[in-house]
Symmetry: C2
Subunit: 540 residues, 2 copies
C-alpha cells in the first residue's frame, strides 16, 4: 500500500473522513462561527496516488472471501436474493444514509444496482436506483483524433473530483486495452464501456464480420480487467430498423448503427439478441452489470418518443427479465433528445416496460437549437427526468455535437449534471439533500462568505467571481455584497422583525395589527439601518 | 432619420427583413443546398445607430393620432376593451404568427400585456402572455461600484442582440435620469424600472422619509421619459412582515425591504398599497404597465412557497382587479428560489389568484448550492415554470449572489434563458417553435456545418467549439465529425434503410421480416460504409 494522506481532499476547508468499519468516505466541510461541519457525498477518491501505483484495493478481502467459498455468480443481485447483505450493500447504505436492508431489498427486486466487477477491487461502491441519490456519469475516452493514456486517467480523476459517480471509457482509438487498464486501477468509481467498439476493431472495422464469439471474447477480456458495467445493444432488432427510415435524424447511436449494419448485411436477427443468454453467463461470472443500450434513441426533438424508440424499449424490457433470471443486474439506457412535455411519458413507460429497472438517460436535450450550450439544454431535461425517477444521468458537455470535450468541458458537463441531479434529489425529498442547501443559504444570509464559497459545488469559481467585483479580503467578512452595496441588506431588517416576536409569528402578527408605536419608536431610535437583497443582481 | 442599413444583422448569414406595412422585423438566416431561408424572432433592433442619435421613432405617427384625438388613457388594454386593434396589436400578431383579434382579446381580458409607454416611440412592440412565445428579461444598471452611461447603453444593446425581450434598468447610483434617458432612446425593447430606488435617493436613502408624493413625482419623471413598465411593491403589507421572521433568509427583495422598513418605522400600512388608485392614474396617462413586485419572495429553497409569499400574492391578486378597473395592464412578479416539485403549485396559484394576469418570474433557482452557476440552477426552474404558463422569465447570470455581471455574464444569462424560454415554447407547442429545431437538426444530419452554426442561438460559440477540434475549412463540409471520425456516421445507414422502403415503413418492415437476401447482397457489394452518431461525445 502506497503512502498517502487518506484525509486529503481537493476542496478548500474540507477533508475526507472515513466512517465505520468499512471506512465509507465523506467530504467534511468545516465552517466558521461555531457552525457544525457539513458532510457531503464524495466521489473524489483517495488523493495523491500515482497512476502507476493504482488505488488501495478496498474490496480485496470482501471478494477474496467469496472466491474462497467457491462462488460462481458474483452479482450483487445474486447475493441480495439469497438474503446476503454484502459489504458493498452496507457501504452504500451508510453512504446514502439508509438501511442496509433497504439496499438489499432494492437490489434483490432489480430496482437498484451496485455496479461492482469482482476484479475492480479499487472501487468505492455506489448504488444506482430511483430510491437513492440521483447519480451522474461522465464519458471519457480517446479517439482517432485524440489523447494518450495518462490524459485519459487524468480526465477520469478530473471528472470524479467534480462529482462523477461513474465514468464510461468510450475509447475507440489505439491502446484501448492499456488505457482501460490504467483507468480502472486508478478509479474509485464504477467504470462502464461499450464492448462493441473494441470488438469492431478486432474485425478491422468491418461490422458485418462481427459475431457472438468475437463479442464474447471481448467481454471476457474487459471483464477480467474489472469493467463494472457494459453497454450492450441487444434491443436493436432487425424488424425495428425500418422504423427509423422516416426519422429526421435516423440512428444516432454508434453501437446502434453498428448492429443495424450487421442486421442489414446478413438480414439476420441481432446476434446480441439471439446470444443474450450466453452473454448473461459472462456477466454473472464477473459480477458485471448490464446497461442495455438504446441504439435507436432519437437524435432530435422531432424524433422523440417515436415508434422505433419504444419498440426497442419493449425488447429491453423482455431482456431485463432474462437477465434477472440469471440474477444479473440491469439498468436501461434512455434518450437523448426529448421536449419537456414528453419527458415524463418516457420515464413512466420505461418503468412499466422494464419493471422499474434503473433508468439511465443521456440528458435529454430539451431543444436542438443551442449547440455550444447542450450542457444547459440537457441539464434542464436531466433535472426533470431525474425528478420523475431516472436513477442516473449521463452528462453532456458544451462540445456535444461539435467536438471533443477538453478539461474545461468535462468540468462544465459534470457541474451542470451535479446541479440537475441535486435539484432532482431536492424535488424527490431525498433525506438530507436539503441540509446542504440550508447550510449554504444560512451562510449566505449571515454573510459568512468563506463558508458560502466552501459549501459551493465549485468553491474555486464562486470565490473567483466574488473577487472580480470585491477583491479585498475585507469584503469576505463584510456584511454586504457588491450587488447592493453597504446600505442595502435584508439581514438587519429580519433581525428587527425577529426581535418583535416573542411567542412566534402569530403573536408578532397580532402585535403588528394592533399597531406598535413603541416598537416603531425603538426602531427609529436604533436608527435601524436597513439592508437588502443578496439576490440583488436580479433583485427588484 | 439617420442613415443606416435596416437589413443589417449582427448574426452571420442573416439579415433583418421587415414584413408588412408596419415593417415587423425578423432575422432571416439563409441556408445552403437549396434549403429555404429560416425566419426567426429578432430582438436585436436597428443596427449601427450611434447612441447620440437614438433609434428611429417607429411609433411616432401611431401615438400622434391618439394624442390628436384627445385620448387620456394610453393603455393597450383600454384600446383592446374598446374593441380597437392598435398598430401595436397588429405588430405583435404578425411577430408571433397569430391573429390580431387573438392579441386584442388576450390583452382585453388581461391575460397578456403589450408594454408600450406613449413616450417610448423607438419601441418595436412585443407581447407578454401565456398564449404567446415565452419572453425573457435582462437586468442592467449601474450601482455604487459601477459603470457609466455608454456602458449601460452598450449592456442593453448586448442583451437585446442575444435575445432579451425586455430590459430592466436597475440603476441605483449616479446619473440615474440621464442613464435611463440614453437607454430608452436606443432601446427597441420595453424598458422596465423599479421607481422606489430613485425615490429613495430623493429622500437621501432614508426609507422612513418616503411618501406617496415623492413616489408619484418619481413615477411621472420616469413615465415622461418613456419607461414601459414599473415594478411596484404594493403587496408588501404591514401584517405580512412578521411572517418572514421564521424564514431562513428573511426578505431578499431590495424594494420589499425598503417598504418593510417604512411600514415598521411608521407601523402604518404600505403607502404603495393605500395609494394604489392614485398610482393607477399616472400609469394610464402614459400607458405604463404594472409589474407588481413580489417583495416577500423567498430567498432560499427552504423558504419557498411559504405563508409570507402567498399572503403577498393574494394582495397582488386584489390589486390586479383594481388596476384592471382603470384599464391598466398588469403582470405579476414571482420567485426566486423554488425546488422543482413546488414550481407548478406556484404557477397554478398565481393564475388562480391573479385571474391569469401574466406571470413574470425570477428563475426560479432549483437549488442553492451552486453559486457561480445560477444561470443553470435557475434555467432549469425557468424552463419548467415557462412550460406551466409563466409568460416572462427574468434572467439570472453566473454572477448572481456573488458580484456584478460583466459583458460575458450578461450573454451567458441571456443565452441560458433563451434556451429555457424556447424549450418551454416547444413543450407548449407554440406554432412554429419546432420549425427552428427541425431546420437545425436537418442541417446537422446532412452535415451542413455552416447552416448548423448559423441556425444556432450562438453561431460564434458553435463555430469556435467545432474549430477547436477540426479547424480545417474542409471539415466544414466533411461528412463526419471529430467525435466519431470519418468511419462512423448514421447518415449512410439511414440512406440504405430508406432505399429499402418503397411504400413506407410498413412495406419495408414486411420486406425485412421476409428476409431480403438480394438487398443484403447489394448492400455488401456497395461495400456499404456505415456511419454513425453525431451524438457521439456522449453516444453509446
Amino acid at each position: 500500500m502506497q503512502q498517502h494522506d487518506p484525509s486529503a481532499s481537493p476542496f478548500p476547508s474540507a477533508r475526507r473522513v472515513h466512517v465505520g468499519d468499512l471506512r465509507v468516505p465523506f467530504r467534511e466541510v468545516s465552517l466558521a462561527g461555531g457552525e457544525p461541519p457539513v458532510r457531503l457525498y464524495d466521489t473524489a477518491g483517495p488523493q495523491g496516488i500515482p497512476a502507476a501505483d493504482g488505488l488501495p484495493k478496498l474490496r480485496q478481502e470482501w471478494v477474496a472471501r467469496r472466491v474462497a467459498r467457491g462462488d460462481t455468480n458474483f452479482s450483487q443481485m445474486h447475493y441480495a436474493r439469497k438474503g446476503e447483505v454484502t459489504e458493498e450493500m452496507r457501504f452504500v447504505a451508510l453512504r446514502e444514509g439508509v438501511s442496509p436492508e433497504l439496499v438489499r431489498d432494492e437490489v434483490a427486486r432489480g430496482r437498484a444496482i451496485i455496479p461492482s466487477n469482482r476484479n475492480h477491487l479499487e472501487l468505492e461502491p455506489m448504488i444506482i436506483g430511483s430510491r437513492f441519490l440521483v447519480k451522474i456519469n461522465a464519458n471519457i475516452g480517446n479517439s482517432a483524433i485524440s489523447s494518450g493514456i495518462e490524459e485519459e486517467v487524468e480526465k477520469m480523476r478530473w471528472a470524479t473530483r467534480w462529482g462523477a459517480d461513474t465514468v464510461m471509457d468510450l475509447s475507440t482509438g489505439a491502446d484501448i486495452h492499456a488505457t482501460r487498464e490504467a483507468i480502472i486501477r486508478s478509479s474509485p468509481v464504477p467504470i462502464g464501456t461499450v464492448p462493441i467498439y473494441q470488438a469492431l476493431e478486432k474485425v478491422k472495422g468491418r461490422a458485418e464480420k462481427l459475431d457472438l464469439r468475437v463479442f464474447l471474447d471481448t467481454l471476457v477480456e474487459q471483464a477480467e480487467q474489472g469493467v463494472d458495467y457494459f453497454t450492450i445493444h441487444s434491443g436493436v432488432r432487425l424488424a425495428y430498423i425500418p422504423l427509423t427510415a422516416k426519422r429526421l435524424t435516423g440512428i444516432v447511436s454508434r453501437g446502434g448503427s453498428i448492429l443495424a449494419k450487421w442486421c442489414l448485411a446478413h438480414h439476420k436477427e441481432n446476434f446480441l439478441y439471439t446470444g443474450f443468454e450466453e452473454i448473461c453467463e459472462v456477466m454473472k461470472r464477473y459480477g458485471v452489470s448490464f446497461s442495455l443500450g438504446d441504439g435507436l434513441r432519437p437524435g432530435s426533438i422531432k424524433d422523440a418518443n417515436d415508434e422505433a424508440q419504444f419498440a426497442e424499449l419493449d425488447t429491453l424490457g423482455e431482456l431485463t427479465e432474462v437477465a434477472w433470471r440469471h440474477d444479473v443486474q440491469v439498468m436501461i439506457e434512455g434518450p437523448g433528445h426529448v421536449p419537456m412535455h414528453l419527458i415524463k411519458e418516457n420515464v413512466d413507460r420505461q418503468m412499466r416496460v422494464c419493471r422499474e429497472a434503473p433508468f439511465y438517460t443521456l440528458g435529454p436535450l430539451t431543444t436542438d437549437v443551442a449547440p455550444g450550450y447542450d450542457h444547459i439544454t440537457s441539464a434542464i431535461g436531466a433535472a426533470m427526468i431525474g425528478m420523475y425517477g431516472t436513477a442516473m444521468l449521463c452528462y453532456v458537455t458544451p462540445k456535444e455535437h461539435l467536438g471533443l470535450p477538453d478539461r474545461d468541458d468535462v468540468k462544465d458537463g459534470v457541474i451542470a449534471y451535479k446541479i440537475a441531479a441535486h435539484a432532482a434529489d431536492l424535488a424527490k425529498g431525498h433525506p438530507g439533500a436539503q441540509a446542504w442547501d440550508d447550510a449554504l443559504s444560512k451562510a449566505r444570509f449571515e454573510f459568512r462568505w468563506q463558508d458560502q464559497f466552501n459549501l459551493s459545488m465549485d468553491p474555486d469559481t464562486a470565490r473567483e467571481f466574488h473577487d472580480q467585483t470585491l477583491p479585498a479580503e475585507g469584503a469576505k467578512v463584510a456584511h454586504f455584497c457588491s450587488m447592493c452595496g453597504p446600505h442595502f441588506c435584508s439581514m438587519k431588517l429580519t433581525q428587527d422583525v425577529r426581535s418583535m416576536e416573542s411567542s412566534g409569528v402569530e403573536a408578532a402578527k397580532a402585535e403588528v395589527e394592533q399597531g406598535l408605536e413603541q416598537k416603531a419608536a425603538e426602531f427609529r431610535e436604533g436608527g435601524g439601518e436597513l439592508y437588502v437583497a443578496v439576490d440583488a443582481a436580479a433583485s427588484t
